[in-house]
Every structure is written in C-alpha cells, then in structure tokens.
C-alpha cells in the first residue's frame, strides 16, 4: 500500500460503564481504497469512526489523516483537521427544513469561519459547488427539494454530497446502507467505491452485510470485541471467514 491517508494506531476506548469498546486498534486506509469494516453488534465499529473524528474521545492511540495527527488537537486546530475527514451517518442527518442544496453547501462551513456564516449565511460559491456535487452523486434533480421530502436513498446521496463539500481526504461511512432497500444500497455502495477510485479518497465503511463488503470493497477488516481479528484484501477473503461478521 502507498502512504496511507488514514492511519490508526493503538486506538483504545473504554466507556464509563466499563465496556472496552476499542482495544489497541490499528488500521490503515490508502488513497483510492475502499475498506469495509465488519463486526457483530457492539464490536466497536461505530466507536472507531466516532473516535477518528473525535466525537468520542479515545483513551489512547493515534489517528493520522495525511500528515496531521488528530489526537490532542483542540479548538480551531481540531475544526480545521476535521474538514479532512468526512463522516456519513446511518441516518442522513440532514436539516429537514432546508433544501438538499443548502444541506450540501453547509458541509463546507468549516472553510468559511466568520460572522456572516455564523449568522446563517451560505457563500454563493459553495452553493454553486453544492449543485455540482449533487450532480456528481446523481441527485441534481432534488437540489431544490426540502430534505424532509427526500427518499432514504436520495437523502443518503445528499449526505454523501455534503461530505464531499468538506473537501475531505478520508470518507468514513457508518452503516450508510442500513436503512436502504437493496437497490438503493447497491447504488450507494457503487457510488462510494467510485468516489474512492476516481477521487482518490480513503473510504472506511462500516457494513453489516459481508456480501456487500466482498462485492464493493477492496479490503475487509473484521472487528470483534474492540480488536481487529482480520484485515485482508477482498480477493483473498473466503466468504466463510466472514460468516456471522454482520
């Protein structure tokens, strides 16, 4: 693998109730690579993604995005570093009363700190770029539609476009297809793979379906009880090894 865009080393997290969610996790994702993260419920997959963007504070370890170490950053430095890592959630988490276009443009807010954006203004340049990004994810027809009128697949595409508006190097997706029908799920996975390969993004995608992982990912990582128990190229992975991983 070339120099990884996302490098996680020795990441550990124990919750106050005593649950060891992550136990010295190490993981690397290179540019142009889609890595599927599998594991049973409670294995630490979501915690891992949330620790990477520091929505959950890890106890120890290192998270490097390109050349930037995220652990230990505070305030403005953390906000700037966060723009390099986009997180797509299971639910699209769009602002319901705003259009798809405005939701996408809001993904770029971190690049425009200042009083005007703090008062609800969106830079026209970012709105124009949002239109391009919606077209990029195949959803230009919904640009003016309010987010609460979108279908699950349309909402998830909008969320992916919002993530791209951040101009990230790394894309994290936390069960992005869990609430989608099989057709929309396949289309979303195809889009994530295409983004990884053509935009040279490092994509780490939590999945519950081993079949989807093997069909779309370049590599599969299996997490169990907070530890990496398998990290292998999909081409070398026996589907039987992933049985029960979801």
């Amino acid at each position: 693998m070339s120099q990884p865009l996302l490098g996680i080393t020795g990441l550990s997290k124990r919750y106050p109730n005593g649950t060891q969610a992550l136990d010295s996790v190490g993981l690397r994702v290179g540019a142009g690579e889609l890595v599927a993260l599998l594991g049973p419920n409670g294995s630490g997959k979501s915690t891992l993604l949330r620790c990477v963007v520091r929505l959950v504070e890890p106890d120890s370890g290192s998270v490097r995005v390109a050349d930037t170490e995220l652990i230990g950053l505070r305030g403005g430095s953390l906000r700037r570093a966060r723009t390099g890592v986009a997180l797509i959630f299971q639910q699209a988490r769009l602002v319901r009363r705003r259009s798809a276009l405005d939701n996408v443009a809001a993904g770029a807010l971190a690049h425009h700190p200042g009083p005007r954006t703090a008062l609800g203004w969106l830079p026209p340049g970012e709105r124009a770029r949002a239109a391009v990004l919606l077209a990029r994810v195949g959803a230009s027809e919904i640009a003016g539609q309010r987010a609460d009128t979108l279908s699950g697949g349309q909402a998830q595409r909008t969320a992916i476009a919002r993530a791209l508006a951040q101009r990230p190097a790394v894309l994290l997706a936390d069960e992005p297809v869990a609430n989608l029908d099989p057709e929309a799920a396949a289309a979303t996975m195809a889009l994530l793979r295409e983004l990884a390969h053509t935009e040279r993004l490092a994509v780490l995608c939590v999945l519950h379906q081993p079949a989807l992982a093997l069909a779309y990912a370049d590599r599969v990582v299996l997490l169990n009880r907070g530890r990496v128990v398998l990290d292998r190229a999909c081409s070398d992975t026996d589907p039987a090894a992933l049985a029960g991983a979801g």
């Binding site: 963007v53 929505l55 953390l78 906000r79 700037r80 570093a81 966060r82 723009t83 986009a86 997180l87 959630f89 639910q91 988490r93 769009l94 602002v95 319901r96 009363r97 705003r98 809001a106 993904g107 807010l109 971190a110 700190p113 954006t117 703090a118 008062l119 609800g120 969106l122 969320a159 919002r162 993530a163 951040q166």
Partner: protein, 276 residues
C-alpha cells in the same frame, strides 16, 4: 413442588374466580389519611379565601345592575379607544420581538446538552426563573417608578417577564430536538455558532415561532391590565371609565378588548399552523 403446580404458580392463579387479595390494613389506612389531609387542605383554603356563597347570591343583584347600567355599549368611546388599542398592541409587539431576539442566544446558552457550556446554563436558568417568577404587573410597577408613567414602562415590564418565560421554553426546545444534523455539522468542522445558525435554528424555527406567537397573544392580554398601574394602553381608559361610573363606555371598551384578543388568537393560530 410438582411441574404442574410450578406452572400454576408462574402463570397466575389456577382458579380465575378466586377473590383478589385484599389490600393490607396499613395501605388502606394510608389512603384514608391522604383523603383526610386533602379535605383538610381544601377546607382551610375555603375559610382563608372567605368563600361565601350567600354573599354571591345577595350580590348578584348588584352585579346585574352594573351590567344593566353598562348596556347598551356607548359607541362614543370608540374614537378615543382607537389610539389606546394601537398602543396596547404595540406594547405587546415590541416587548415580544425584543424578548424573542434576546431569548434565542440566551436560550441556546441555557440549553444543557449541545449548545452552550454547562457553566453558563445554571446561572442563565436561575436569572430567567427570577424574571418570570415576578408577575408582569409587579414589573410594571417597578418600571413605572423607574421610567415614569406611560407605555415604555409597559414595554419593559412585558419584555423582562417574557424573556424569563422564553429563555426556559427555547432552552427546553433545543434540548429536546433531534441533535443529528447538529452533530453532523460539528463533525464536519463547523464552529458552534455555525452549527447553531445552520442546524439548530432552521430545525427549531417552527417551534420558536409558535412559542413567540403564543407569547405575543399573552402579552396582548397582559398589556390590557398594565394600564391599571399607569403603564400605558387601553387598560388606563377602562379603569378611568369604571371610576367615573361611565359603565356604557366601559362596556364598549370591554367589547373592543374582546374583539382584539379574539382577532389575535385566531390570527396567531393560523400563522402557527402555517409555520409547521
């Protein structure tokens, strides 16, 4: 114990016609004690409040005479009531707008989970509780003493009281809202102010609008009585008419008030429905 017997034990009484277990004596005594204490509290309230049905029956005649003296309402009171009505509405309008604008940032800071720090939340909530604990009529007395007789004292009184109410309501709305969109923007590197204006405010706008309109309705009603203590509005005219035994003028003013409040309630209900 046999398996059959165990089955009966776990699945409830074998004989459905069996009488339910009687409540224990201490529990029954406790219930009677609660009823007794309740009646005692109610009894003392009737005595202390000097509730006297005989006085009501004897006084009905006087009340009826007053109503009769006030009929028919005197339209001559209408021209002078016009400016007073406008002043009443304007006092409520200015107070509601100012209180709403102030309550948005203070409500955000008072909300506990997502926006604002924990440090600010407690003191802001305490101040807001104090502001709303003092009735607006008392605030009006304070501000009449401070800025003199007139509508401005009414504006200040309603602003302060409304601020106390709206800060609490806004803070609770923020705490109860779906935090997903806000967290998504936070994870994308947005500042707290950006998260608030781009995710929290749009999501809460219908709720905030409804609360502000409801407050406007209440403020219109409140500003009617502020005139009784010299804080402007139609209340002053109503008080003057009553004191001068101009009951037909007073009844005309009451009709105007009724129409005003009704129009406001209908209008605000429509706007609130449109905001959803």
């Amino acid at each position: 114990m046999s398996r059959a017997a165990q089955g009966r034990t776990t699945q409830g009484p074998a004989n459905p016609s069996a009488r339910p277990t009687r409540r224990s004596l201490p529990r029954r005594l406790g219930r009677w004690l609660v009823v007794f204490v309740g009646l005692l509290v109610l009894g003392q309230a009737l005595v202390v409040a000097e509730v006297d049905p005989r006085a009501l029956v004897e006084g009905l005649g006087g009340g009826a005479r007053l109503v009769a003296d006030g009929l028919p309402p005197d339209p001559a009171a209408l021209p002078s009531a016009g400016l007073a009505v406008l002043q009443t509405v304007d006092i409520a309008l200015v107070a509601t707008v100012v209180a709403t604008l102030l309550a948005i940032p203070f409500g955000a800071a008072a909300a506990r989970p997502r926006t604002g720090g924990q440090l600010l939340s407690a003191p802001i909530r305490a101040v807001a509780a104090f502001l709303r604990a003092i009735p607006d009529l008392v605030w009006a007395l304070v501000f009449v003493a401070a800025v003199g007789l007139g509508p401005f004292a009414g504006v200040l009184a309603l602003t302060v009281h409304s601020l106390g109410m709206l800060v609490r309501l806004f803070a609770e709305s923020i705490e109860e809202m779906d935090g997903g969109p806000a967290e998504a923007l936070l994870a994308a590197g947005a500042t707290r102010a950006q998260v608030f204006s781009h995710a929290v405010v749009p999501e809460l706008l219908p709720t905030l609008g409804s609360l502000a309109l409801y407050r406007l309705e209440q403020n219109v009603r409140s500003s009617l009585v502020l005139g009784f203590v010299g804080a402007g509005g139609i209340g002053f005219q109503l008080l003057s008419a009553m004191e001068e035994f101009q009951y037909r003028q007073a009844s005309m003013l009451l009709l105007v008030l009724f129409a005003l409040v009704t129009v406001f309630e209908l209008g605000s209900a429509r706007v609130r429905a449109a905001l959803r």
